[in-house]
Amino acid sequence: MEATIALAGNPNSGKTTLFNTLTGARQHVGNYPGVTVEKKQGTYSRGGLDIKIVDLPGTYSLNPYSMEEEVARDFLLNDQPAMVIDIVDASNLQRNLYLAIQLMEMGLNVCLALNMIDIARTRGIEIDTEKLSRLLGVPVVPTIARTGEGSKMLIEAASKASQYDRSPLTISYGDDLDQALDEMEDLISGKDFLGDICHPRWIALKYLEKDGKIISQGRERDPELSAELGEITRRVADHLEKTMNTYPEAVIADHRHGYIRSIIKGVITRHHGEDRFFLSDRIDMVLTNRFVGPLIMIGVIMGLYKFTFTYSELPVNWLESLFGWLSSSADAALPDGLVKSLIISGVIDGVGGVLGFVPLIMFMFLGISLLEDSGYLARMAYMLDRVFRYFGLHGSSVMAFIVSGGIAGGCAVPGVMATRVLKSPKERLATLLTAPFMNCGAKLPVFALLVAAFFSENEAMVMLAITLIAWCGALIVAKILRLTIIRGESTPFVMELPPYHLPTFRGLFIHTWERTWEYIKKAGTVILGISIVLWAMMTFPALPESQQTEYERQRQGLLASTPSETIHEVETAQGRTLPTEESPALQTGIEAIDRAENEARVRYSLAGRIGVALETISSLAGFDWRTNIALVGGLAAKEVVVSTLGTVYSLGETDPEESSSLAETLRESPHWSPLAAWSLIIFTIFYAPCIVAVVCIAREAGSWKWGAFSVVFNTSLAFGLSAIVFQTGRLLGF
């Protein structure tokens, strides 16, 4: 079996950059089972070596509080890698060693990569590597991950050291705890308790640290012994509480930090004080300034938005014309019928729907990676946290809201994916469930249609109101969710503001490509399936033969009453202006019959029947069966609401961008009023996200339960709100 090396390290220690340097393009990204933490693997093959490298998530510690920490620790315990390379930021040795000694306490084979040694030197920090290596008893190799300097030596040192067995590091935690540990260790080794997980002293330490996961495993294995260990823990905890007013966890952390201080005392020489201001701090004086900071942040947000949605327009258009061409080729090549309809409306539109988002997702991830890797994203979270925390969210939630359409015209699919920058699980879930309320680009044609039909004098005001409604709705619902089903204290905001630095292009592109590819692979197949189901709902059951014949008879009748030269003219005209007067009349006549047939066909289909059946309830919000069908169609993509409305009002396929005749029809229809339009606007803002977004929500939340929740909850909420608006409006006499 090939050897495995795991890369561990703090966030911002340059771990991913080193991983990219070591493995090049030969990497594979997946997820750890059941969680959304990314699992990256690659192979290092140089100089006759063939080593599997696993990039663990960046963590400050191995106490399993966050998903990342849990995943990292489980991997180390279960997979027992031959070697762990701990990447430490040389400028921040003291904090970084906290993880290193925890790894060594587990008894793992550790090798330190003293990364960004060049930056440490320019900051006036000198490190005696040999002495550090001697004191810790592990190899220490200085590296510069960006340039690859030291990486060869690192791997050599690591693979050499992996051949020796290492005994676990033992730190003294003071008399009280040491005594307890000795006592527990004897009990544990006497029964080989949890021996398959780790060595006895570590297990004892975890009992003292009140590690929920290990304790529950222990209770399962040997409840009696586990209770005994728990009793010793309580005894020593009581003693510490009485004598020193502290807890075992705190004492353990204090001693670990004390141990680190004693080690680095003779290892680091500083030519400047610790508080010296560096370039990064001077940049922060401007970028997080009370007055200038927020203004610059608005600029950056607008910039990201423009970058994502403007520059992706060109490739999106290419894809659209490609799929348009595919549709028309299929249209020409295939005989009329079900197969053709399935291929064009089900498969091509479905695949087009999936791939149409790809440029958006790529540009969004590129922009966000740039902000994240440069260190600015942490500053945004820092500046905005006060606002978002009020609603039970986190400063980093802003990105997801903006990309989803916080500035009208975004897209919830990349928006939901943008929640990956949030490390706190509850805040993240609340963000990804509420971000789809924002007004994405596909909802805009619906609003444009209704505004053109009923509010053409106040266009700008109404659009502003729609944006505000979406923001208030999302924030209030987030607050409600955090008070009810995602209840719980907010995750601590103990966060590092990493020094600013220029991201590497290679890192940015690898990052962007991996995530985009994952979307295509995982989401693509599901979405294709669902779009075929939706197509079937709009198609089956087909109109009964008698009705089809009836429409055909009408067409034939019209043709029979027209002189044959005119028919010939129409058939050969193909877009040219028609010379005689009868021909346009014939053409419109035939089109009218086609449209009537389409209307009848949609109404007869399953989706149509659902729409008709729901009319009794939906009339509470002012929607007739036509609107219902359009809204069912909107599940595929929101702009379909407009084209379906066109079909059911017998106007033929309506281009969402060109809906003026439809607007006129709505204005004159007795079923419609400005109040009904408001009701539909509210419904469109809040109802179920489109299927692509639902699939992404389920994937990001790690469970289909949340995808289903967003469909059911959002639709109920939307219906409740629009019914309230409609009924109140009616009472007030609108």
């Binding site: 904090r95 705190a250 930090h257 201080r261 508080d275 009370r290 606002v387 925390r389 601590p492 503001l497």
Partner: protein, 77 residues
Amino acid sequence: MALVCLRHMKKNQRGEIVNIKADGELGRRIRDMGLVPGTKVMIMGRAPLFDPVALRVMGFTLTLRNNEADYIEVEVK
């Protein structure tokens, strides 16, 4: 020399942590980042809405919410 709560420290003020009263997840997170008794801190600034606060600890910058800073007692110079 005086004991104050970290929340009430002013910008650019320095001090040494004396006591951390936090327990559970918050306590663990604070300690994981190196905030333990004996650690020197300096206030770098506060966010535009006066919360969170940014500190310089062992050469890096750390942010904490004000209600989290309440658990930390500092002896200021």
